[in-house]
């Protein structure tokens, strides 16, 4: 049995736009995803994440290259691919005229689930996703958050070996998001492969076994969190809370050429690339003649790695 759930080779997707240069939304991607992993696809807006997902879920044909899901080619055997996947697209998608329960049962029909099993699973999911009070109400009468719950709950009706989630947590409250994340983790442990895109990097940091960072349709970096941190060695995050925000601190930070700066109230967070030995010098410099309530120095977060790599890529390409 092939160990890969997903194989992508030299994949290109070009969109022709009238009167303008064609856009290479996916520009020669090559990667494979091992079965049973949670694979995160990260990238800024317009990086090509959704286009890539559309190719992989058979919604769009690639211009060049191949992509296979569990050995089935997305162009040559789209129906076979669809039988092996389930997906949550970026937009909130639900049967607005049907009740919450009917949404789940209708989806089960498409996935050839028997009536008894479908009813049982629908009941379980309605409870798990806290939809009991609205189970018989039409989805059009529910808020965006509830619609998203219905959309994500559908995925757990079935046991398709590969799941695609395009920014699944949009519109979800934090408690439900945690619940869904632990459910996804359990599904991966049971052997399902989960491919997700997200802009919330803490989510990817917590959930993904394997991460691919893309920008402008190209791969920038690939690996688990530790590997990516290696790629970004020398990036440190300094957080300092002052009794009151010093006037000149912003200009002082600017001279350090930070990767990222966040000033909130009396707290300053800076991510920068520097030598390890100089970190404390920088902290001392910022603290000099000021009253510091808290100092925290840590290695790069996924967000820092992401910003550094995408910025670097854009500089190189321009």
């Amino acid at each position: 049995m092939n160990q890969f759930a997903l194989e992508v080779e030299n994949l290109v997707k070009v969109y022709a736009t009238r009167g303008k240069d064609p856009v290479r939304a996916v520009d020669g991607m090559n990667f494979a995803v091992t079965r049973g992993t949670i694979f995160g696809l990260l990238g800024p807006n317009g990086a090509g994440k959704s286009t890539l997902l559309r190719v992989l879920t058979t919604l769009t044909r690639p211009t060049e290259g191949t992509a296979r899901i569990l050995g089935c080619d997305v162009v040559k055997k789209p129906l076979e691919v669809r039988k092996r996947i389930c997906s949550v697209i970026q937009e909130t998608a639900a049967e607005l005229f049907l009740s919450v329960k009917d949404n789940l049962l209708t989806y089960a029909r498409f996935q050839s689930l028997g009536n008894r099993v479908a009813s049982q699973r629908a009941e379980q999911l309605i409870e798990e996703f806290q939809l009991c009070d609205v189970a018989e109400r039409k989805v059009q009468d529910l808020s965006g958050g509830f619609r998203r719950r219905v959309q994500v709950a559908k995925l757990f009706m079935v046991e398709s070996p590969v799941m695609f989630l395009d920014e699944f947590s949009t519109g979800m409250d934090p408690i439900l998001k945690r619940q869904v994340m632990s459910r996804l983790r359990a599904e991966a442990e049971n052997g399902r492969t989960i491919i997700l895109t997200t802009q919330i990097l803490s989510e990817a940091e917590e959930l993904c076994d394997d991460i691919l960072i893309i920008d402008k349709g190209r791969q920038i970096a690939r690996g688990d969190l530790d590997t990516l941190k290696q790629l970004s060695q020398g990036v440190f995050e300094i957080a300092m809370t002052f009794d009151r925000l010093p006037e000149a601190v912003e200009s002082e930070i600017a001279t350090l050429k930070p990767i990222r700066t966040l000033i909130e109230g009396n707290t300053v967070e800076v991510a920068l690339k520097t030598e390890e030995g100089k970190v404390m010098e920088i902290v001392n410099g910022l603290a000099r003649n000021r009253h510091v309530l808290r100092v925290e120095v840590r290695g790069a977060s996924l967000e820092d790695i992401f910003v550094e790599l995408t910025t670097q890529n854009r500089k190189e390409r321009s």
Binding site: R82, T106, S112
Partner: protein
């Protein structure tokens, strides 16, 4: 097969939650027959060139074709609803082929068309005393089923090519005007000017109406009706394959 039944199940569920749609599909053409048809019949009598046939009998096939056309147009509009609800693209990732999706969408509506036909025939027979050829009823129902499907595939092309609801509504309004009036729906073609007659003769709805008219009240020539039936079948098949292609090109 299970995918097809899933689409039919979905369409039935959705349409059952909104009975207004079904009401209009079933009763609107009936109203046309009982109000417009009866009015013209009383005021103008038999259509020119058709001796021994009153307007009610002549117009019966027109009413059926109008129902078929309207049901198809309403069904194809559901692509916009699916797009607005966001479910359209997600459905395209479900385990079914594009042709199953299209066929599934139309099957429920074929049932509605058959129901509408039964009601119209009964109303025509009982209220307007139209002499109906019951022996050709199966052929009449086939004409309604294939007609509804054919027009749905035709409309689907525009619904899938057009991304904007308002543009599609304008297109359907123009189609209603052109297709229905430039056909044999409301009047016989013989007394019409040459250019009008030619336009009507190449209009696929005329082919469907002529079939339905022959199979319901026996007006027309079997040879011509068979040729028109074959032409309509070709028209429907071309529309089906092109609509599937349009669905495959959805990005």
């Amino acid at each position: 097969m299970s995918s097809l039944s899933a689409v039919v199940y979905r369409e039935t569920k959705i349409r059952m939650t909104n009975l207004t749609f079904i009401f209009w599909d079933v009763f609107f053409p009936l109203g046309y027959m009982l109000i417009f048809g009866v009015g013209v019949n009383a005021a103008l009598g038999a259509p020119a060139g058709l001796s021994g046939v009153d307007y009610n009998s002549f117009f019966l096939a027109g009413v059926l074709a109008m129902a078929s056309f309207a049901i198809a147009s309403n069904t194809s509009w559901s692509f916009f609803l699916d797009r607005d609800n966001g479910i359209f693209y997600e459905m395209l990732t479900y385990p079914m082929s594009r042709s199953e999706y299209l066929l599934g969408k139309v099957i429920f509506n074929v049932f509605i068309a058959i129901l509408q036909t039964a009601l119209t025939l009964l109303a025509g027979y009982l209220l307007l005393r139209i002499h109906i050829r019951w022996e050709t009823l199966p052929m009449l129902l086939i004409g309604m089923a294939l007609g509804t499907a054919g027009w749905f595939f035709f409309y689907s092309i525009f619904a899938l090519k057009t991304k904007r609801n308002d543009v599609f509504n304008s297109v359907t309004s123009i189609f209603y005007f052109v297709f229905l009036f430039a056909s044999s729906m409301f009047y016989p073609l013989d007394p019409l000017p040459g250019w009008f007659r030619i336009t009507a003769l190449i209009n696929p709805i005329t082919w469907q109406i002529d079939w339905l008219r022959y199979m319901s009240v026996g007006i027309g020539s079997l040879r011509i009706v068979l040729a028109e039936g074959a032409a309509f079948l070709i028209f429907s098949s071309v529309c089906f394959f092109y609509a599937v292609r349009c669905l495959q090109e959805q990005e």
